[in-house]
């Protein structure tokens, strides 16, 4: 035990003596948290609109002003030339064309079928989809209004959808994203620090000296792991404080539970880093390997794209992604106030993975060839 303390003491000295390390630990993660939380927002804003009004009637003007009143649209131009709109889309000045046909007003007033065309630039599929969705709602609303004014009752009522977003009533993306981004930064720091560590001793040759000392493998791995666990928890705590005080993310569940899960999760990530460190020979190799895993882990975590919309084979891969479990758990505890019973599955999976990976790392760290 005393030997482990000497290793921990040495690691901390080396970490804090490294000039590049302080900004990496104390500035970078929080810049990431602050910047990414503002940018990773899925609401589509600033949709540039072109309206082709071939009807040029009171009703068409009314529809246009109703569309223009919607905050997320910028009405750029009204014209009767479709060509012009098409040209503007090509020029990338316009995202969506709304085309109101001749006789729009007449057909509407006589309860005849009428069509409004929406043409969206689908290079950015998300933006196109969301824009069309917005416009459909507005136009549907408008036609209903007109119909009821005229007393028509035989228009298609459809199903009246009442939307209610539980646990995040205002669909505030920050509430959703901040805990997730917090997970990412803790993961990255832990993975990279531990991944680069043992391999560094290999590179400078001190590992050879350690190998002829009577330190046992497990003492060595624990001595290496604990400083990063402490740093990881520290990073997480600062991030959590920023999330709560600045982004006003609530913590509905138990903080103890969050920390308990975070510790187990960090042990897993550090184990993965140690494993990377033991199978590589240079810091460069370790860096690339750590990048490979973190990119896959992050993109397949369900943070930026819902796991449910991935192909089945990809969904199966995400079952091996620790970030997925952690993102799920932290959102559940913070936003939904879930108790241990609802996250127990994830907890068990991460615990077993942590034990398995760390045993593998200890086993794989060859003191003897």
């Amino acid at each position: 035990m005393r030997k482990i303390l000497f290793i921990i003491q040495k690691e901390f000295k080396q970490i804090f003596r490294n000039k590049a390390m302080k900004p990496i630990l104390f500035v970078m993660p929080f810049v990431q948290l602050a910047v990414l939380s503002y940018t990773a927002d899925f609401t589509v804003k600033n949709i540039n609109l072109f309206v082709q009004d071939m009807d040029n009637s009171v009703l068409s003007k009314e529809l246009i002003s109703k569309i223009a009143a919607f905050n997320n649209f910028n009405l750029k131009e009204i014209s009767n030339s479709y060509k012009k709109g098409f040209y503007k889309i090509q020029q990338n000045n316009i995202d969506v064309i709304v085309s109101i046909p001749q006789n729009f007003s007449k057909n509407l007033q006589t309860n005849k079928k009428t069509e409004v065309a929406i043409i969206a630039d689908a290079i950015n599929g998300t933006k196109a989809g969301v824009s069309i969705n917005y416009l459909q709602n507005i136009i549907l609303d408008f036609t209903k209004e007109q119909a009821s004014k005229k007393g028509f009752t035989n228009i298609k009522q459809g199903v009246n959808i009442i939307k209610r977003n539980w646990f995040n009533p205002l669909l505030n993306y920050k509430l959703f994203m901040v805990p997730g981004i917090l997970v990412l930064l803790v993961t990255m720091i832990a993975l990279f620090l531990s991944g680069m560590n043992i391999v560094r001793e290999k590179e400078i040759g001190t590992i050879e000296q350690l190998n002829v000392t009577p330190i046992k493998k497990y003492q060595f791995i624990i001595g290496k792991l604990l400083p990063f666990l402490i740093l990881g928890i520290f990073e997480f705590s600062i991030g959590l404080i920023i999330a709560v005080l600045w982004f006003k993310v609530p913590i509905l569940g138990s903080i103890t539970l969050i920390y308990l899960f975070t510790i187990v999760y960090l042990i897993l990530i550090l184990g993965i880093g140690m494993l990377i460190s033991t199978i590589t020979n240079t810091q460069q190799q370790a860096l690339f390997l750590a990048w490979f895993f973190s990119v896959i882990f992050i993109l397949m975590s369900g943070l930026f794209t819902p796991i449910e919309s991935m192909p089945v084979w990809a969904q199966n891969i995400t079952l091996f992604n620790p970030i997925r479990y952690y993102v799920e758990v932290i959102r559940l505890i913070m936003l939904k106030g879930s108790s241990f019973s609802s996250i127990s599955n994830n907890f068990i999976i991460i615990s077993f993975a942590a034990i398995f990976v760390n045993l593998l790392a200890v086993f794989n760290y060859q003191k003897t060839v």
């Binding site: 005393r2 030997k3 000497f6 000295k13 400078i204 050879e208 190998n211 009577p214």
Partner: protein
Amino acid sequence: MTAEKVIKVKKLNKTFGKFIAVNNISFDVKKGEIFGFLGANGAGKTTAIKMLTGILSSTSGEATVAGYDINKQRNKLKENIGYMSQKFSLYEDLTLKENIRFYGGIYGLSNKQIKQKTNEVLERLNLQKIENTLISEIPLGWKQKIAFSVAIIHNPKIVFLDEPTSGVDPITRRQFWNLIYQATQDGITVFVTTHYMDEAEYCDRISMMVEGNIKAIGSVEQLLVKYKSKNMDEVFIKLARNNENI
């Protein structure tokens, strides 16, 4: 006078696939002597040292170091040996004092012992002024002396030195050998490999390794007589050339 044998090697073998790195070597090292382990590059010296220090398993044969089996009692063995290689074992981003403290700690010395040892080392090397200087800022020759002192910080029975003086000037090498002599006076056995034949002459006994085999073993005088040579350089060349002819 029958001196205690601290290293006993019997028919030790190491093969990597079909390549025989160490071929049936046998020798003994007596307590308190300076044993020079010589050979050209690639002769199998480093492989042999790795086996004797318990970081490489042997393919066959037996060996005990400080009375412990090299394959079965590795932890006990490691507690009783020191090791220093030409590759640097000191942490560049720790100070002189911190390096001593770290290695003392992992060899299980108490805080009191560490303190006492630190003072001893600083005094012997006359480096009190730079005790809080980072190793990266200390010249190479000093680093080697510090590395040696750190390697024997836990009073091992044997210290293995793998080309400890490569890359330093003759004066520093001389000083380094003075440290080695001091260590033997404290009862530490020294097992040293070197490229410098003049250094070989400082050893009590020498073994000469050629392509995995020990070709000659004995004191400098014995070898000079046996191979009718004026100095160790000649012995070395004769043995190596002899092998080329076969």
